[in-house]
Subunit: 367 residues, 2 copies
């Protein structure tokens, strides 16, 4: 299969029309021409995508597996997305649900450079789910955000991330915020003997992201956050190559319709180098089902094409009360992210954070 | 309004619930916290997004206008998308339908650097729609693609673009393909006295895009193609600043669900620097309605926030037979793109291209 990869689509079509729709889909995602307009023999044989199989789905749609020529993807993240779904994203009868790739293709992207083990080594959390919280609300200054980070770290939260909305605002410019937050976490770690890690938010052009990585490296930040669908997946791949720290992927803009979340936030972000992937957990503020969440977790960390596993990070309206349930469902190889419901405790924030940490430590023994 | 911009959403909610849903949307797209967890007075006053108005829509949904704090967007394209729709893209009851900005915010992005006038100056097409076709299928080598470009140019097509699937494949590496295609177009222009322009396809990381721009500049390419939702909108903005030639935006991945096409392919790509924007025209291979297409054309070129107009580029299954209808509907300030239906002519390609050019010249006088 090294010269082909399989794109798996769910197609809404009646039985009489699905064969033609599948062929049109294969042409749209490869030569973008009617076959009658493809005169080159090699292109017809090696470049035109092939419909490999069509099968009925329980939901009334059809599973259409299409073999794309690897040469059309250039082993480049954006071009892979483009060939998987670029034009078909404009068709509302098609959902991209999965891909099938071999280890040779996967190794061309590299996947998680640190993976689950990297997060465990960085934080010292060896046999339980990790804990994570976010610096918010945006609008606070560097000192206030640093104080908040200190509270999280003293409470023993493993990973402190910037709010994904926290880019480079005048109220807390990246170059002032990140060193201040890291210093507060370093102080807390020294005081407690803990190993809290900070993941600053990388945003903007690749030039801006590289400048942000330099600031982060200079002050000793040991992780990074990026939203691949906002930055472009090519920037995620560059960060994975250059950052030297575990990368946390955020799903901002990843909900735009018809790419299945387990594929996009699970497999693809992992393939392009994310070491952990945040997703909205069932029962929170977002509408993902428990089965979708389980599928995202599997896509992030199950054995796949020789890639290192990435940590699933259930989030989006979690609470301390739900920790036992969520930890049981997602298992120990995960990172639990709670933000707003901790901050709502106001003066009781640090105690609330400790309750979060205690609940996760109690919940998580390895399966 | 300089400290705020308005995001306009279409929200599916019943009348009893729409106020609460609108408030939740405003919080999700700003502080990402319940208001009870926002203790800072300035953040409550200046950073938390405000619901400005709620009105019933004809389709049964509600128009919700939310005032976002400009300071949260950092005048950066990706962060603007993030604050407009990052997390809410994960909610299937919300569609982002429009933005309202002032000239101060618009000028921070810059918009089209060349615009409609730039395309007309580059091609010499002063008072009619422009013609465009694509180099495809991918899989052909540089010589075959150059021969095809020569046919297009001899036939008088104004703009020859790479197929958006043509990135940097082994069959036609960018560094070999682009100079070969440009040379063929230069030869044709010399022979005919024409002024056909070539738009090579910029893909990959910003590093790769800059290397591609150098190759394009060195061989005299006078336009460029980019798919902003694939490359990341920040890369579009960098290209708009650095390329020095008109930029053609491709809608690959732009159909991912709930951002209205007139906003994304029209207003936002224009705001970020696209000089022309391709969209699937009604009655072609894609399902956009005539009214959606009209709205995209208006968003691309109507007076807006002091930005230069961009050319709307109807495409996606057009034919020479439809030129009069499409030209009448879209008007002279447009670029008509026909690809596959020309190539289907096989040996009759050049004649078919001339028929396309003749039809557009006949159709297009200024309104």
């Amino acid at each position: 299969m090294t010269d082909r990869l399989i794109a798996v689509y769910a197609v809404r079509a009646d039985v009489a029309g699905v064969d033609a729709r599948a062929e049109a889909l294969a042409l749209e995602q490869s030569v973008e021409l009617p076959l009658a307009a493809v005169f080159d023999a090699r292109v017809r044989r090696e470049v035109v995508a092939r419909v490999e199989s069509i099968a009925a789905r329980a939901d009334g749609r059809h599973t259409v597996r299409v073999a794309l020529a690897r040469e059309t993807t250039g082993d480049e993240p954006g071009q892979l997305l483009n060939m998987l779904f670029g034009n078909s994203s404009l068709h509302d009868d098609v959902e991209l649900v999965d891909i099938e790739i071999d280890a040779a293709l996967a190794s061309a992207y590299g996947g998680p450079r640190h993976g689950v083990r990297g997060w465990r080594e960085a934080t010292g959390a060896l046999d339980r789910p990790l804990t994570c919280s976010a610096l918010k609300p945006q609008g606070l200054g560097p000192d206030a955000l640093a104080d908040l980070a200190g509270v999280y770290a003293r409470a023993g939260i493993d990973v402190v991330k910037d709010d994904h909305g926290l880019a480079n605002p005048p109220s807390a410019p990246y170059a002032a915020r990140v060193p201040a937050v890291q210093a507060a976490i370093d102080d807390a770690n020294r005081a407690t003997g803990g190993r809290t890690v900070y993941a600053p938010n990388l945003t903007g052009s690749l030039d801006a992201i590289r400048a942000q990585l330099r600031v982060a490296r200079d002050c000793g930040a040991r992780a990074a956050l990026i939203a691949p669908m906002v930055s472009g997946v090519a920037s995620l791949a560059v960060v994975a190559r250059e950052a030297g720290v575990p990368i946390l992927a955020h799903p901002a803009l990843a909900g735009l319709g018809r790419m299945a979340p387990p594929l996009l936030c699970g497999r693809l972000f992992r393939l392009f180098g994310a070491d952990a992937t945040i997703y909205p957990y069932a029962g929170g503020r977002f509408g993902y089902s428990a089965s979708t969440c389980a599928a995202i977790a599997s896509a992030a960390r199950d054995p796949w094409a020789g890639l290192a596993p990435a940590l699933p990070v259930p989030a989006g309206g979690m609470s301390v009360e739900r920790v036992p349930e969520v930890a049981r469902a997602v298992g120990p190889d995960a990172m639990l992210l709670i933000g707003g419901s901790l901050l709502a405790a106001g003066a009781g924030l640090e105690a609330r954070c400790r309750a979060f940490v205690t609940a996760v430590h109690a919940a998580g023994a390895p399966r």
